[in-house]
């Protein structure tokens, strides 16, 4: 019996200790945002009922609004949003979507874990190579784990990959498939089965449609080289920087 109590005491002590450690970890990470809303088109709503946050984003006031763990981002019928995470991963959110952001970002290093619970709608993600970090997108039937890729995810469990690799898990059965470039997966509504296959360029183009509304508005710099002769007859080259819409 004494031995049993001994184990109980040790267990209580360890659990209590772990609790302290974990709470200190949370404290060290919870005060920093995990993402920002870099651009958006009205209407976009930001909510976090735990901290009594309910904000309709205003382009004049809320460009670059910070997103913390637990925040919900809701795009209305005409709304779009471009979310940039602390590792520069990007989520493009289509209209009529709702996603809950969860995650932690380290303070002393770039360690972070990010999870998007996609309740409704559709997102397209450009995820930076993660190294030791985690980036997941979950619906009520699927879980997509990514390591550095461009892919789309719908709340109905449909996932397609433009570039890179995504591991898709059916939440109920635990079945997992790996998707590569130009592949798709559809998890059934029970979360048991996954159907996957390949996509043509036209199908990919069709799936990407609409996301250009929420392109990153940074203009890519391109060079144009002009050659001419100067006053002394010397052949000179002038490089002209032209800023154009990017492809992303």
């Amino acid at each position: 019996m004494k031995r049993l109590f001994k184990y109980v005491y040790i267990s209580v002590f360890l659990i209590t200790g772990m609790g302290f450690v974990s709470s200190s970890v949370i404290n060290s990470t919870s005060d920093r945002p995990i993402a920002i809303v870099k651009h958006f088109k009205p209407d976009v709503n930001l909510r976090n009922l735990e901290v009594d946050k309910d904000l309709m984003l205003d382009p004049q006031e809320n460009m670059g609004e910070q997103l913390f763990s637990g925040d919900s981002l809701i795009t209305r019928e005409e709304g779009f949003a471009l979310v940039v995470f602390m590792d520069r991963s990007v989520a493009k959110v289509k209209p009529s979507s709702m996603l809950i952001l969860k995650g932690e970002v380290g303070t002393a290093s770039k360690e972070m874990s990010t999870r998007i619970d996609l309740e409704e709608g559709e997102v397209f993600l450009e995820v930076q190579p993660q190294g030791g970090n985690d980036f997941e997108v979950a619906t009520n039937r699927s879980l997509a784990s990514v390591k550095g890729t461009n892919f789309g995810n719908r709340s109905d469990g449909y996932i397609w990959v433009q570039e890179g690799q995504v591991d898709v898990t059916a939440l109920n059965s635990g079945q997992t498939v790996s998707l590569f470039e130009k592949m798709y997966a559809q998890v059934d509504d029970q979360g048991n089965d996954i159907q996957s296959g390949t996509l043509s360029d036209e199908e990919i183009e069709e799936l990407d449609e609409g996301f250009d509304e929420v392109e990153d508005n940074d203009l890519e710099q391109k060079e144009i080289i002009l050659k001419f002769r100067d006053q002394n007859g010397q052949l000179q080259e002038i490089t002209i920087d032209v800023f154009e819409e990017g492809n992303n």
């Binding site: 920002i36 870099k38 460009m63 770039k110 940074d218 710099q221 002038i238 490089t239 800023f243």
Partner: protein, 925 residues
């Protein structure tokens, strides 16, 4: 002693005259010194000499040095239609100032200088500042232990104005970071107050940020220091907007060929000149090549080469090869930019840890002596009694030539100069005694093909043949010289090269006449002393390197007399050494430099004539940069002494105090200002004494005399002793310049103003004062509504030297413009300049109690002589109008025609107008 005193005095007068003589000449150099030089970019320098033509001068050289170095580097300056243009590229070293002066060597051999008053001692001084664009990043130390992610905007991208969001995520261990705060700066402006900041995140949405390029910087400020975290640029643009990025290199071979023909009438003489110039350059990968050449009908075998050519090949940073007319640099004590005709190559291996340099060529080409026929003059006693004959050989048409002077040098160094490098270098310069016919005595005439003795009768020829040394060469023989400079250098940098130490130590040997080869026992015997055979053997073995004989500048032999027999023992003369050590600290806010130099009076490098010899002392300078490198404050102190080998009667101590303040705002709407002063004293501690002269004449004394009581033949006797010439003067030099850009009536204007004042007060010589004031102002205007650019300027220089001995006033104005027509196909320019020269000079008269030498004979005692200014003065006043006009017509993309015309009119002088017409054709590819 007496002779030395007189020589010094004459020298002083000569210097004063030399300093002012250029002002009397028809040409004067106008120059607008820049307010500041930017490090890491080419800084243009222009000198304008109204009325000068290509045929008036041999060469034009810009001498420049960093931070008061012991010698000047040099570079040739190109001339084009009245202007001498070059550029200075301040290297990425720790220097904070550049000093320079400009010399034009006229065909007569006379030098024309800017500044014209002792230019090497009073050079133009300009502060070096860091390139404006690099100021922010160079001035802050990078913080350690802070990582970051730029969330928006991406570096180098363009963002439309309504989408500008600046956001940065920070990652760091708060415990390991010194207490402080992060700051966000946009274009150098701190906007932290307006930003949304938390411990690990900064964001800011600027309102109304102007279109164009902007820089963002994140800094971490503690109580004592501000660190750089990161910085990047982005642009606020509209889609499709383009911005100019700059010129860049290309891989296409480039080149041009220029042919010109010139007709000129100078002083009534008509002269036609033709020249061709070509250049081609390009690169293939890391391999770069260029070749250039210049041919002119003005090439003259009596001058150093006017035709120039050269090739340059390079492979990355590993190999560089130059051949033809090249301008090698090895070190300040050996060669620094002097032109040679030969090759200069260097190899840098193992990431520049092993470096080799080799040069070989002709420092001067041979120029033949032009002799006239022998002259025989009878030595007559009484009425007609010829007792002897003198035989003279003279040069005709100033035809004194020179030997071909060859140069061979090399340097080997180990280590990277930014970490630790040790190097060794050597330079051998020697005249080729066989390169020209040089008559030393009559035998040389007999043995040569010269028929200079044809006017001598047989008796005279026999007399000279029997005594060939009786032939006297008027103006003297030219002697072939030999020179060796060898040494080592050490340099290292610590703390990211912010602390640097550089030193160089060298030894030199100079032989002023190598004709007879190394010293032999026989020759020593003829000279009256004995030399050990071991020594002569050693000299023979060394002769491939340097010929050592009795004509050495310093003979490394001590002559000792023992029982009437004189023997020679070798010794080491320290006066042939030179050394320089420099420690510098270059931190963002402060640059401190400490330099010590010691240069012996007999140190010589025939490849660098600008080395200041017989000097030792230290220099300390400190420059503080304030307000993000926009305000520079410099203070400096220098203490130098001559007579370092204690071979002179007195030691002159020169102390200089220098300060400069420069305001260099990035915003061009604000003026750039620089103001400096230098106060220098020179004192050799010798009192002015002459008991024979009254106090009012004391400082005009020819000789410095003091009385001493000595016992002579058992009796106390007062005797007069001539002491060294006293020297005690001070100079105050104040310079200020300002340049301002402003817009007026739809024009963009650049206004520059320079004011310089030099005042030298001599405490011990009545005619040693100098007062010089110069002002120059220039306005360049660019018209927005018309393809026109105009220049307007005024220059003024008033110099009084020798305490009234000479007064020179030069003032002038110029107005000019450039018009661009037909889409820049035709470019027309014109310029009118007027310069007025007024001068008044007086000669010295030597006087004593009897009167002055100009009126009557002086008494026999030279000790009471004193200088006085002659009553009569010589005045000269003339003006010169110079009108220049030119045009460039671009026929096609590759072909252009250029026309220049120049008309010079001198007023108040019986001088004909000079005119020049020049046509040039340029083909570019």
């Amino acid at each position: 002693m007496l002779v030395k005193g007189v020589i010094k005095k004459i020298l002083t007068i000569f210097i004063i005259l030399a300093a002012t003589s250029t002002a009397y000449s028809q040409f004067n150099i106008q120059h607008q010194a820049p307010v500041l030089f930017e490090r890491g970019v080419d800084n243009a320098i222009t000198f304008n000499v109204p009325g000068i033509t290509q045929t008036d001068f041999q060469q034009a050289i810009l001498y420049y040095r960093y931070d008061g170095a012991s010698s000047y580097q040099q570079k040739e300056v190109q001339y084009n239609n009245g202007f001498f243009r070059t550029s200075i590229y301040p290297e990425a070293n720790n220097a904070s100032t550049i000093e320079y002066y400009f010399e034009i060597t006229l065909n007569s051999g006379v030098g024309l200088f800017y500044p014209n008053n002792l230019p090497s001692e009073n050079p133009v001084t300009v502060e070096i500042v860091d390139e404006a664009g690099d100021q922010k990043t160079q001035s802050k130390e990078q913080i350690e232990g802070v990582d970051y992610t730029i969330l928006s905007p991406d570096a180098g991208t363009g963002v439309s104005p309504e989408n500008v969001v600046i956001a940065v995520a920070l990652f760091y261990d708060m415990q390991s970071l010194e207490p402080g705060e992060f700051r966000l700066l946009i274009d150098g402006q701190d906007v932290t107050e307006q930003a949304d900041t938390s411990a690990y995140y900064i964001s800011y949405v600027p309102k109304n940020l102007e279109r164009g390029r902007h820089s963002i910087a994140i800094e971490y400020a503690t109580d004592t220091k501000t660190y750089a975290v990161t910085n990047w640029d982005f642009s606020v643009v509209a889609p499709g907007q383009a911005t100019f990025q700059g010129f860049q290199e290309n891989n296409i071979p480039q080149g041009n060929v220029e042919l010109s023909a010139r007709n000129q009438v100078i002083a009534g003489d008509i002269n036609n000149a033709y020249s061709g110039r070509g250049r081609v350059s390009g690169k293939v990968g890391d391999f770069r090549y260029s070749a250039k050449g210049f041919l002119t009908s003005q090439e003259d075998p009596r001058l150093q080469p006017q035709n120039r050519y050269g090739v340059n090949l390079a492979y990355g940073d590993i190999w560089n090869f130059e051949a033809g007319h090249v301008y090698p640099n090895m070190s300040q004590f050996t060669i620094a930019g002097r032109r040679i005709h030969g090759l200069n190559t260097s190899v840098h291996l193992l990431n520049e840890n092993i470096n080799m340099q080799f040069m070989y060529g002709e420092l001067e080409r041979s120029i033949t002596n032009l002799y006239d026929s022998l002259i025989v003059e009878d030595v007559v006693i009484g009425a007609d009694s010829v007792v002897d004959r003198n035989y003279f050989l003279t040069y005709k048409d100033q035809g004194r030539g020179n030997f071909q002077r060859t140069i061979t040098g090399g340097r080997l160094s180990f280590g990277n100069e930014e970490k630790f490098q040790i190097g060794f270098h050597a330079l051998k310069i020697e005249d080729d005694t066989t390169s020209i016919t040089n008559v030393r005595d009559y035998r040389d005439i007999v043995n040569s093909n010269l028929t200079l003795n044809s006017n001598l009768n047989a008796l005279e020829q026999d007399s000279l043949a029997a005594n060939p040394e009786d032939l006297v060469v008027r103006s003297g023989n030219i002697n072939p010289r030999g020179n060796l400079v060898a040494g080592g250098d050490l340099q290292f940098g610590i703390d990211n090269n912010r602390i640097r130490f550089e030193s160089e130590a060298v030894i030199s040997a100079l032989n002023n006449n190598i004709y007879d080869g190394p010293l032999t026992s026989q020759r020593a015997d003829d000279l009256g002393f004995d030399v050990d055979e071991g020594i002569t053997d050693l000299l023979e073995q060394l002769s491939w390197l340097i010929i050592v004989n009795e004509n050495m500048d310093v003979l490394p032999l001590n002559l000792n007399e023992d029982d009437g027999e004189i023997t020679a023992e070798p010794f080491f003369p320290t006066s042939i050494l030179a050394g320089n050590g420099e420690l510098s600290f270059r931190y963002p806010g402060n640059s401190l430099r400490i330099q010590y130099r010691w240069i012996g009076p007999n140190f010589n490098s025939l490849a660098n004539s600008t080395i200041r010899r017989d000097i030792a002392g230290f220099t300390v300078s400190d420059r503080v940069n304030l307000f993000s490198n926009r305000l520079y404050v410099t203070i400096a102190y220098e203490n130098l002494q001559d007579n370092v080998s204690n071979t002179r009667d007195a030691t002159t101590n020169t102390i200089s105090y220098r300060s400069n303040i420069s305001w260099y705002p990035v915003n061009r709407d604000l003026p750039r200002i620089s103001a400096s002063f230098r106060y220098r004293t020179r004192d050799n501690g010798v009192q002015r004494q002459n008991y024979l002269l009254s106090d009012d004449l004391l400082n005009a004394a020819v000789r410095n005399i003091q009385r001493e009581q000595r016992t002579i033949n058992g009796q106390d006797t007062l005797i007069a002793i001539v002491t060294p010439t006293p020297r005690n003067n001070n100079s105050l030099n104040i310079n200020s310049s300002i340049t301002q850009q402003f817009r007026l009536f739809n024009t963009r204007n650049d206004l520059s103003l320079n004011i310089s004042n030099l005042k030298t007060t001599d405490e011990v010589f009545a005619f040693g004062d100098v007062l010089s004031t110069s002002v120059s102002v220039n306005l360049t205007s660019r018209f927005n509504d018309a393809p026109l650019e105009t220049q307007l300027g005024y220059t003024y220089n008033d110099t009084e030297s020798g305490s009234g001995q000479s007064q020179v006033l030069i003032s002038g104005f110029y107005v000019g413009g450039q018009l661009f027509l037909w889409d820049n196909t035709l470019n027309i320019n014109a310029r009118l300049a007027y310069t007025n020269n007024d001068s008044e000079t007086r000669n010295f008269d030597v006087c004593d109690s009897s009167g002055c030498s100009s009126d009557q004979a002086l008494n026999e005692n030279p000790n009471d002589d004193y200088f006085a200014l002659a009553d009569e003065s010589t005045s000269r006043s003339f003006g010169s109008y110079v009108f220049q006009a030119g045009a460039r017509y671009n026929i096609t993309e590759n072909h252009a025609l250029l026309f220049d015309a120049n008309l010079t009119n001198i007023t108040n002088q019986s001088v004909q107008n000079d005119r020049i017409v020049q046509l040039r054709y340029v083909y570019s590819f």
